[in-house]
Symmetry: C2
């Protein structure tokens, strides 16, 4: 039978790790905190990347590529950003190995090849990019610059988990330059919307849109917009952020332009990114105790056809016809006629891998002109005539995509609380973690205290939060709107 | 007018640099030897990547992603490979910065965050990948593994040139594992063919297929297959390599499998790669003194429509119609109706960027129902009726693609020499560099001597070289086939 995975009820965290490793999304590596993204996981990332890349290009962005390394002096230039990332930087100090005289066959960093200036492996690329933009921007005619980069970055995290928090991860980072504050804020909000659309329409993962509190902002940003999703254990996951960087990087790197009135002005900036972390979010939003559940729009394999109990000429004929019809409709479908494994094994294996639809073609069923179609999300099966199988499958793609979103949204609603007292706040966080809308007095100190006492953080100040007079749950000081609290990944 | 570029006759090397920087392919960066790939250059890379990726997938490969860092002890394991790359490795020694007590506002590598084991920034990924494959392979049933990775790698080269040789570059690296020597060699040859097809059919760049001499082989390979192209200055450029690695990495990382006879055996390996170097090859193969010439199959912009002298309703109407017709045929076309620049400026700019076809719509011409279509490769212009413009453009795409290949092939033939004496060999290399087919006695020593005396290297032992008795040009010792000599990038 299939590989065993822990149940969510037993140990949610172990369930997640089991899924990631046993469904073939990732593997551990010999490098502390770094994972290997296995073919099934990488195919998922490719699908995400392709959709996002199209959305970026449709909103006027182009791709480019900037160096992996950031000289230390550039890294230092924007102080808040440097401070924010300093504690988790991988640092290149040498550029050559030589034979170790004391250990035959072994190598050592050559002391004579020490770099004059250390290089930081990029934890994010604002510094190297804004140092380059200085040469590209003279006047308002050179603006806006709308560039995105697909790249790997390194943040030396102490506690790592596959996809959710790894020392190296893959991501995209947009870096734009604008002639006005209003245009830059508009850009940051636009990309926030793009991320929302991607999360909800492709990942089938509902999100709360909001701004980060000052404490939780990106280091170097004037404003950070975030989308926050609820995982099945009630914890929040920050799924994408878009930053309005003001003129902070322009000032740090002296990037000025002549505006339409021929006056010099510092350039306005944004940056925005999502990463392979989204794979972790996807896994935790939809999957169950039997394995992954992937939304049809992103699944590397959308449909699998399985002969029961084994291939025959009659089964092959029907399978091949369905295969070519589904392929012609753009469906990623495979026919698994491997005779080494029995149907039961295959069922479990494709369930584990999260394939949305399974078509079983049984030797006896085809005498009656029917096949069995099973959907991964609800595990419902129907027996349906061969002629209708393709149409039914196409319909299921849509139904599953919708159902996953609906189901996740209902889970979120069930676990969202409006809370007015400290006792209730603490009780909920202890007993049934979820999202809590509560009043906060707007100070860093209170936010910090709440985090210390409960481990909950302000996930965001929702963009659509209504004005409402209330009292801070901790201090009782006045507040004008509720913010979203949760424990988070 | 457009940006000035040096002519090839004046200074070939300067011409190349001018093209790369002024056509917007790349820019210099603050990091020694690392370039910024600008949007036009990156779009070209995306097109190359997409074609290659499709070819890899059609030959059964899947993508995955392995860590950027290789622990030193793994890096050392395959000794020849380690020795081959040791002198150009970037080495990470620390994982944290801290405030520098002596320099306020500055940071320094935190001495307390020194890694126990140094990490090598991958110059190539055999080590980290074969260390992982050990866990994935138990029996012949787990084979073959056919994985490719798109990634950045770092080789600390002393002399760098944009695209041709940079400290960091982007590439793909295939790493496959097989149950037999024959199958692995077959795989290496298959990918050698894939690269040949890509070079000739997409890049329009003819190549010579061959095997590397022992001296020039990939460090750790039993055999390296290469494709060698001739640049316009007669020098050779190695455009892609595919390696049969034997059991070298399997032995170094102890990767064994149970074969069909239930006996333990070391796994057979291949690796193969092409990089952003191909962009340099493309530039140097086709371009002229006015700028880039890009083959239609890879050009980021295939057709540009320009209003002459400026947009009008009548011109816009025709342009929009052509735009939508060409787009519907899958052509990447833009209509440049920017009124800030005059047509002459635009002509020069798109010539510089290498756009294969330009359609000029003139205010007076359209009264006669014609437009002017210019091809970038020959600079020929025709006046053609509006109705036929789209068909003509489609035909030009094919013609240009073919012509570029033909032209490059003719250049190569004009500069290829069959040489039997040392004097002639030296004379040709001095006076009119090109490809030289000459006899060689098969020894490392002779190869080395020839390189010292002439700077020419054995580019490859052509796969289709006929058996022919002869005498080594340097030593006079017997030889059975001619090999390909050239000076190389």
């Amino acid at each position: 039978m299939a590989k065993e995975i822990c149940t969510r009820a037993e140990d949610y965290s172990q369930w997640y790790n089991d899924l990631v490793y046993k469904a073939g999304l990732a593997d551990q590596s010999a490098v502390r905190g770094c994972m290997v993204i296995k073919p099934h996981g990488y195919a998922l990332w490719e699908n995400m990347r392709d959709v996002l890349d199209k959305m970026f290009k449709e909103t006027g962005h182009v791709n480019a590529y900037f160096p992996l390394f950031v000289p230390k002096s550039l890294f230092e230039a924007e102080e808040k950003n440097a401070e924010g990332f300093a504690k988790e930087c991988a640092i290149v100090t040498h550029y050559r190995l030589k034979a170790d005289p004391d250990r035959p066959g072994k190598l050592m960093a050559d002391p004579e090849a020490k770099l004059e200036e250390e290089l930081i492996v990029r934890p994010t690329s604002e510094a190297i990019i804004w140092n380059t933009y200085r040469d590209w921007i003279q006047s308002y005619r050179d603006l806006p610059i709308l560039i995105n980069q697909w790249a790997n970055v390194v943040r030396w995290e102490m506690r790592t988990r596959p996809f959710l928090r790894t020392a190296e991860f893959l991501w995209q980072e947009g870096h734009t330059a604008h002639a006005s504050k209003a245009e830059a804020i508009q850009e940051a909000l636009q990309m926030h919307d793009v991320y929302t659309t991607f999360a909800e329409e492709y990942m089938a993962m509902p999100v709360i849109k909001g701004a980060k509190s000052e404490n939780e902002r990106f280091a170097g940003a004037d404003d950070t917009f975030t989308i926050e999703a609820m995982m099945q254990d009630g914890k929040a996951l920050q799924a994408g952020t878009s930053h309005y960087l003001g003129q902070n990087f322009a000032k740090a790197f002296n990037v000025k332009f002549l505006n339409t009135e021929n006056k010099e002005e510092f350039v306005y900036a944004t940056s925005w990114g999502v990463s392979t972390r989204l794979i972790g979010a996807l896994v935790m939003t939809h999957s169950d105790d039997d394995g992954l559940i992937l939304p049809p729009k992103l699944a590397p394999i959308q449909v699998v056809i399985i002969p029961i109990p084994k291939p025959s000429e009659a089964i092959d004929n029907i399978a091949q016809k369905m295969l070519s019809e589904l392929k012609s409709k753009g469906i990623k479908v495979i026919y698994d006629r491997d005779e080494k494994n029995r149907p039961g094994f295959k069922f479990a294996e494709y369930e584990l891998k999260g394939v949305p639809v399974r078509i079983g073609i049984g030797a006896r069923d085809i005498e009656n002109g029917v096949v069995e179609i099973a959907r991964r999300d609800t595990k419902e099966k129907v027996s349906i005539s061969v002629d209708q199988a393709v149409d039914h499958t196409m319909q299921l793609m849509e139904d599953i995509q919708k159902n996953l979103f609906q189901r996740a949204k209902e889970l979120r609603e069930r676990n969202t609380h409006i809370v007015d007292t400290w006792d209730e706040f603490v009780k909920i966080l202890d007993e049934k973690p979820g999202f809590i809308y509560a009043h906060w007095d707007g100070t860093k100190e209170t936010e910090k205290l709440i985090k210390e006492k409960t481990k909950a953080t302000i996930r965001c100040i929702p963009l659509d939060a209504p004005e409402e007079n209330g009292k801070c749950i901790l201090t009782g000081n006045p507040s004008t709107k509720r913010v979203l609290f949760a424990k988070a990944y």
